[in-house]
Symmetry: C2
Subunit: 372 residues, 2 copies
């Protein structure tokens, strides 16, 4: 393997696949990135066995291919090394089977390689009829839901996003059982077979970083894995196995109290009073509604207490006195793009639903916290 | 105590004094900031008993003083609370002796206070004849030396900067015994009594952050403390007691090998090859001189090896093969403003001295590391 390549092109592709290398990996060869050079181009692959990312640099984009070959280069420092080489054009050359020389005019790195024969055979199959979404739509689906996944391994399914498709309706749901985020979109054409899968949250977060524009993403779904194809990148993740809990009954269908409020004012107020909020993790704050005002208040025994008023638009005649995690409320509010939002409530102990005034496709739900 | 003040003015002054509150403080009252309002203005004080910072907001800059008084307000979150209040004008009012209300139109924080009578009496004495330096000059003295102090408490004096004045010559020296930084400047007028004190490094780092321009800094030196006066700010630190080691014999007076090299190229090269450098803390790299070139190289057994060449300007006919900490070299090089620097060496085991071609006032010294 010997070739000459533009530093910027190589870095862009390495930065995408490097997300597939796990820092916790115990299989040594998976700490490497597979470089596979053919006359068609350079294929880069990284995997932690559950997530596999492949990026192909077309031969047209490679300055010069002297001879082809395959090797596994240690990923540690690889991107830094290439980034810090002083020239814009970089040469790669295998010295022997287990050493690659990466060099520019006056500088060279000789890096140990691993045997390409030991690298696992990572199949990245495709359907002939994938589901197709615009990149920015998929990015939005992820961003508006993934923050609500559970970080606790006790209930593994809740660390994922539940993706369902029925006809032309695609839905992402995430919940950690204290709050829930749900986003729906319409597909351009309906699909024949319903989909109900759970995408690992941590891998979806990496996918979101790779998508940067509205180019099409192909989604190829299999029984135990899913492949996302975007530009020259293939991103394949395992699925979480099991049946995602039915969450449809969690969202109330009727609300006694509907409050319209300016989103930025509410964010600023919740953020402000969460400074004195009790509880290390949850940052509990209290919201009281009466007389066309909501009052947000908080209390920390050692520091003091605080409160502030926001005028709101509501027809509700009843009052409410409800406590919730300010962190959860802020994360939910920040997913909504519109200026005016609705808080939909029933009473002091039932869920708070948050959505925009105009967009029905996104629902955020937070369970209140009992305080005594 | 009741007053109305501009949020921005209060924040600017609080941000300066907050650096005096230690996060490790065990004396509860020193976690508070002293607010002392008189008809002359608002005096803010914070201290960890070794470092005391005071900032006075003149009465002219305060919107309204309803009545005067003194209290100690918990510093935790105080700056965030004030910053996050929605209005530009903020009201303060003592509710009772141990509670202050900080409020704007619709929002209020009631914070617990501590008894002002319990706050230590922190004298901030002044001489009638202080030493005077421009702010930016003092900032430079600190920046070009303080990185070389020791972080190890085993030899407490080395955690400080040695400040000496003889006649009109002022000198800052810092060393952790592996490297040394020395910067000299001329005072506008000589002083009568020699000065030889050791400033605590961690406090000097805070002082450097407070100084933002070339306004005069008055330096009032006492036997066990020193007071820096800058604008409306008084910054008083204890001195480290003991005699700072004599470092003058560490710096060679003659050099067999003098190499002129472009600073940015050397920084980039050392930075590049430190990626593969051995040793977790020191990042040892090797520099060889021969034939008007220096070669920088490094080696990490598990990853590989690397090297690069730089052309240099030298009359030296002898070769050199020397190893050093890339971290120390980078920190030393970054203190030099000029483009061309000199590396002054004797042999493979004697110190490397680094200075600019034109400026004799700054000397950086690094001890080589023996490798086998």
């Amino acid at each position: 393997m010997k070739f000459t390549i533009d530093k910027a092109i190589l870095l862009e592709n390495l930065n995408n696949v490097i997300k597939g290398v796990s820092t916790k990996n115990v299989i040594p060869i998976l700490n490497g990135i597979k470089f596979e050079l053919t006359n068609q181009g350079l294929s880069l692959t990284a995997s932690d066995s559950e997530l596999t990312i492949n990026s192909i640099i077309d031969a047209k984009e490679i300055k010069h291919i002297e001879n082809t070959g395959t090797t596994i280069i240690q990923s540690k420092f690889l991107i830094d090394i290439i980034r810090k080489l002083p020239n814009d054009i970089i040469d790669f050359e295998m010295i022997d089977n287990l050493k690659v020389r990466i060099y520019t005019e006056n500088d060279q790195f000789q890096l140990n390689c691993l045997d390409a024969n030991d690298y696992p055979n990572l199949k990245m199959e495709e359907h002939k009829d994938p589901i197709i979404l615009k990149g920015d739509i998929l990015k939005g689906l992820i961003n508006q839901t993934v923050f609500a996944i559970s970080t606790q391994e006790l209930r593994p399914l809740l660390t994922g996003i539940n993706m369902t498709i029925v006809g032309d309706s695609l839905q992402f749901i995430a919940t950690d059982s204290y709050r829930l985020a749900k986003k729906n979109i319409k597909l351009e054409s309906p699909i024949d077979t319903d989909v109900n899968i759970v995408l690992p949250g941590k891998n979806v977060i990496e996918l979101e970083k790779i998508i940067v524009d509205d180019e099409n993403v192909e989604i190829h779904i299999f029984s135990n894995k899913v492949l996302f194809k975007y530009k020259n990148i293939k991103f394949q993740t395992n699925l979480l196995s099991g049946t995602y809990p039915n969450t449809s009954n969690l969202i109330p269908t009727e609300y006694g109290i509907i409050v319209k409020v300016n989103k930025e004012e509410l964010i600023a107020s919740v953020d402000r009073f969460s400074l004195l909020a009790q509880g290390k993790d949850k940052n509990i704050i209290r919201m009281q509604l009466s007389n066309k005002f909501i009052t947000i208040s908080s209390y920390a025994s050692e520091l003091g207490n605080a409160n502030g008023k926001l005028s709101v638009d509501t027809d509700a005649s009843s009052t409410i006195d409800i406590s919730f995690s300010s962190k959860y409320m802020l994360e939910a509010l920040k997913t909504i793009k519109e200026e005016e939002i609705l808080l939909l409530m029933t009473d002091d102990v039932k869920p708070i639903v948050i959505k925009s005034v105009t967009d029905e496709s996104l629902i955020q739900l937070i369970l209140p916290i009992k305080t005594y």
